[in-house]
C-alpha cells in the first residue's frame, strides 16, 4: 500500500482502536489515563491527516485523487459496494480540520471532564465519534459515507445523553437522533435513487457520469438532489429540522463544541460539496438549498437575539452559520462553503470552549442572566471569547470576515440580490446577538456572587489558546497564504475555479462594486456589534417590543407547531393503533374463536349422556342413509 493508502486508513482506524480499547478496559484505568489515550489516538489521526495532506500535495494536481479499496463489503446482484476510502484534496483538507479540532477538544476535555466519574465512557464515545466523522469525510462511496453519517448520529445521541440520569438530557438525545433520522429517510432514498440511476454509489463515478446520466434540470436529478438534501437538513439542523440542536446543548460543552458546532453538523454541507456534480444537474434543488440556508440563517440569528442561555445562543448561532454555508453551496460556491465551514469550525469551537471555561468556573451555570462582570475574574477566558466574537461577527482581519465576505460576494455575483440582502441582514444580527452574549456574560456588574471563580487549568487553556490563534489567522491563511480554492480545484473542477476566493469574485464584479459590497457588509457587522454594545453595556437605548420579543422567544412558535402538528398526532396515532390492535384485529380473531365456542356450546346439548338417546341417533342416522340409498334416482 502506498503512503496515501496507509495514512487514509490510519486516520479513522486510530480513534476506532481507541474506542475498542477504552470501551473494553477504559473503565478500570486510573484518573485521566483514558483521556490521554483518547487524545493520543486523535493526535495520531491528526498526524496521519497532515501526512496525507502533504503526500497528496506532493503529487501533481490531477493525480491527487486516490481510491483505497480495503475489501468487498456488500455485494448482491449488480450491486457491489467495496469498502472504499477516497483521498482527494477535499477529504484531506476536511480530515485535517476534523482531526485537528478534534484533538484540541479532546485535550480540553481531559480538564473539563476531570471531575466526572464516567470519563472513560465519555472518551470512548468521543473516539467513536472521531472515527465515524473521519470515515464520513474519507468515504469513497455513499454507503461508506452512510456508516460515518449514522455513526456520528449515534455518538451525538450518546454524548447528548451522556448525563443520562438527567431526564432532559436523555430526552434531548432521543430527539436529536429521531429528528436527524427523519432527514436520513430522505438520504437513504436518495442513495437508492442514485443506485438506480448510476448503478453504483461511488463518488468518482457519480462525478464522472452525472452529466451523462442526468439531464440538466430533469425531474430525476432534482428528486435525487432534494432527497439527499433532506438528509443534510436533518444532520445540519436547518429549517425545519433544526429543533434538535438547541436541546442538544444538554450534553457536555466540549461535545457541543466538537459535534454540534465544528464537525458533525457540517456533514450536510460536506455531502453536498462531495456530490456537487450531481447538484449542478439540478438548478432548482440548488435554489432550494440556497433559500433554505438563507432563511435558516436569518431565522436562527433572530432566535439567538432573545435567548438567555449562553450555550443556546451559540447553538442558534451555529444553525445560522450553517445557513450561510448552505447559502454558499446553494449558489454553487463550493469552495466558499468549505472555507466558511473551516473558519466556523475554529471560531465556533473557540466560543464553545470559552463558554465551557465559564461554566467550569461557575459550576455548570449557563444562564446569562446570572452572569455578568466575569471579565474581571476570568480575563483570559473573556479575551478568548472576545476573539471568537469578532471572528464570528466578521470583523477584518479575523477568520470569519474572509469566509463570510466570500459567500456574500458569491451570492451577489450569482445574481441573487435578495439572498444577499438576507445574508447581509443576518450579518448585522450576528454582530448584535453575539455582542449581547459577551456583554451579559463578561461585562457590566456581577449579577450574582459566584464563589471560587477561577480560570481554567492549563490543559483546558492551551487548546483554547490554539483555537484563538486559528480563529484569528486562518482566514488570512486560507485566503492568501495557502489558498483553499485552488487546492480544492482537482475535486471541484470548474466549480472551484468559479469561486477562487475573493480574487475571482473581484474579477467577476467590477472592482468598485466589490469594494462597496465589502464596506457595506463590514459596516453592517460592526453596526450590529456597536448597537449590541450600546443596548446591553451602556443601556443607551431602551425600548420594549413585547410582541416581537414574545414571538422571538418562542422561535416563531415552530417548536409548538411541531408538537401540535407532528409529535402529538404521532403519539395519538400510535396509541390509536395499539387500541385497534387489541380492540379490532384481535377482537375479530377472538370473535371467530367465540363463534366456534358458541356453536360448540349449542351442539353439546345433544350430548346429554343418555346411552339410549345416542342409540336412537344411530338408528335415525342409519335410517337416513338407508333412505338416501333407496330413494336416490
Amino acid at each position: 500500500m502506498s503512503a496515501v493508502a496507509v495514512t487514509a486508513v490510519l486516520i479513522p482506524a486510530l480513534p476506532l482502536a481507541g474506542w475498542v480499547v477504552l470501551g473494553l478496559w477504559g473503565g478500570r484505568w486510573p484518573g485521566r489515563a483514558a483521556g490521554w489515550v483518547a487524545s493520543a489516538t486523535v493526535a495520531g489521526s491528526f498526524v496521519a491527516a497532515v501526512a496525507l495532506f502533504e503526500s497528496l500535495a506532493a503529487l501533481p494536481p490531477d493525480a491527487r485523487t486516490v481510491q483505497v479499496d480495503l475489501y468487498r463489503w456488500i455485494a448482491a446482484g449488480a450491486l457491489a459496494i467495496p469498502f472504499r476510502l477516497l483521498a482527494d484534496p477535499l477529504s484531506a483538507a476536511m480530515a485535517r480540520l476534523v482531526a485537528g479540532v478534534g484533538m484540541l477538544i479532546h485535550i480540553y476535555s481531559i480538564g473539563y471532564m476531570a471531575r466526572d466519574a464516567g470519563g472513560a465512557r465519555y472518551f470512548a464515545y468521543m473516539n467513536l465519534f472521531m472515527a465515524s466523522m473521519l470515515l464520513l469525510v474519507l468515504a469513497g462511496n455513499l454507503a461508506v459515507m452512510f456508516i460515518g453519517w449514522e455513526g456520528v448520529g449515534l455518538c451525538s445521541y450518546l454524548l447528548i445523553a451522556f448525563w443520562f440520569e438527567r431526564p432532559a438530557a436523555a430526552r434531548a438525545g432521543v430527539k436529536a437522533f429521531v429528528v436527524t433520522r427523519l432527514g436520513d429517510v430522505g438520504f437513504l432514498l436518495g442513495i437508492f435513487a442514485v443506485f438506480g440511476t448510476f448503478g453504483t454509489l461511488d463518488f468518482t463515478a457519480i462525478t464522472r457520469e452525472a452529466a451523462a446520466r442526468l439531464p440538466l434540470g430533469g425531474g430525476l436529478a432534482t428528486a435525487i438532489a432534494l432527497l439527499l438534501f433532506l438528509g443534510a437538513v436533518g444532520k445540519s439542523a436547518q429549517l425545519p429540522l433544526y429543533v434538535w440542536l438547541p436541546d442538544a446543548m444538554d450534553g457536555p460543552t466540549p461535545v457541543s463544541a466538537l459535534i454540534h458546532a465544528a464537525t458533525m453538523v457540517t456533514a450536510g454541507v460536506f455531502m453536498i460539496v462531495r456530490l456537487h456534480a450531481l447538484y449542478l444537474r439540478a438548478p432548482f434543488a440548488l435554489d432550494v438549498v440556497a433559500v433554505t440556508g438563507a432563511v435558516t440563517a436569518v431565522f436562527a440569528a433572530s432566535a439567538a437575539l432573545v435567548e438567555s442561555d449562553l450555550k443556546r445562543v451559540l447553538a442558534y448561532s451555529t444553525i445560522s452559520q450553517l445557513g450561510y454555508m448552505f447559502l454558499a453551496v446553494g449558489v454553487a460556491a463550493w469552495a466558499a462553503g468549505i472555507f466558511h465551514l473551516m473558519t466556523h469550525a475554529f471560531f465556533k469551537a473557540l466560543l464553545f470552549l470559552a463558554a465551557g471555561a465559564v461554566m467550569h468556573a461557575l459550576g455548570g451555570e449557563t444562564d446569562m442572566r446570572k452572569m455578568g462582570g466575569l471579565a474581571r475574574p476570568l480575563p483570559k477566558t473573556a479575551a478568548a471569547f472576545g476573539a471568537g466574537v469578532l471572528a464570528l461577527a466578521g470583523i477584518p482581519p479575523l477568520a470569519g470576515f474572509f469566509s463570510k465576505e466570500q459567500i456574500l460576494g458569491e451570492v451577489f455575483a450569482a445574481g441573487h440580490p435578495w439572498l444577499w440582502g438576507i445574508g447581509l441582514f443576518t450579518a448585522g444580527l450576528t454582530g448584535f446577538y453575539i455582542t449581547r452574549a459577551y456583554v451579559l456574560t463578561f461585562a457590566g456588574p456581577p449579577a450574582r456572587v459566584h464563589e471560587n471563580v477561577h480560570e481554567a487549568p492549563p490543559v483546558m487553556w492551551w487548546p483554547l489558546a490554539a483555537l484563538v490563534f486559528l480563529a484569528v489567522v486562518m482566514g488570512v491563511v486560507l485566503e492568501h497564504v495557502v489558498p483553499l480554492a485552488p487546492w480544492l480545484q482537482p475535486t471541484l473542477g470548474a466549480g472551484a475555479l468559479k469561486s477562487a476566493g475573493g480574487a475571482a469574485a473581484a474579477a467577476a464584479e467590477p472592482g468598485a462594486v466589490h469594494a462597496m459590497l465589502l464596506v457595506v457588509s463590514v459596516a453592517v457587522a460592526a453596526g450590529g456589534i456597536v448597537l449590541g454594545w450600546l443596548v446591553y453595556a451602556r443601556g443607551a437605548i431602551r425600548g420594549q417590543a413585547p410582541v416581537l420579543g414574545t414571538i422571538l422567544a418562542h422561535r416563531f412558535y415552530i417548536e409548538d407547531l411541531y408538537d401540535a402538528a407532528i409529535v402529538a398526532p404521532s403519539r395519538a396515532l400510535a396509541g390509536w393503533a395499539a387500541a385497534v390492535d387489541r380492540g379490532v384485529i384481535d377482537r375479530a380473531v377472538l370473535g371467530v374463536a367465540g363463534g366456534l365456542g358458541w356453536g360448540g356450546a349449542a351442539l353439546r346439548r345433544l350430548q346429554n349422556g343418555y346411552l339410549r338417546q345416542y342409540a336412537a341417533f344411530v338408528l335415525i342416522g342409519a335410517l337416513i342413509i338407508l333412505a338416501y340409498w333407496m330413494l336416490r334416482p
Partner: protein, 101 residues
C-alpha cells in the same frame, strides 16, 4: 324341504328390530347388553343366509369375526357393568350420564 331364504331374512329382521327396541327402550344395562347380542346374532343370521344363497363362504367367515368380537365385547362389557354396579349400586343406563356434554 328347505326353508326359503326370505324366511330367514324375515326372522333376522324381526330379531334385529327386537334387539334395537331393547337397546332403545330398556334401562337395565344387562338387558341392553343382551339386546345388543340379539342384534349381532340377527346380523349373523342374515350373513349366513346370504352366504348360503350365493354359495360363498365369505359370509360365514365374517360371522366368525363377529362372534369373536362379540365374545370380546361380552368380556369387556360385563366387566364394565360389574364395575359400574360396584361403584354406583345400579345398572340403570340413564344414571350413568357422567359424559353429558
Amino acid at each position: 324341504m328347505t326353508v326359503p331364504a326370505p324366511y330367514y331374512l324375515a326372522l333376522s329382521a324381526v330379531l334385529f328390530t327386537a334387539g334395537t327396541a331393547g337397546v332403545l327402550l330398556r334401562r337395565s344395562a344387562l338387558i341392553v347388553f343382551m339386546s345388543v347380542e340379539l342384534m349381532l346374532n340377527a346380523v349373523n343370521l342374515s350373513l349366513i343366509t346370504f352366504a348360503r344363497l350365493h354359495g360363498s363362504v365369505d359370509g360365514q367367515v365374517l360371522v366368525f369375526f363377529v362372534l369373536v368380537v362379540a365374545a370380546a365385547e361380552v368380556v369387556v362389557g360385563l366387566a364394565i357393568i360389574v364395575d359400574v354396579f360396584r361403584s354406583r349400586e345400579t345398572v340403570d343406563v340413564d344414571d350413568a350420564d357422567a359424559l353429558r356434554g
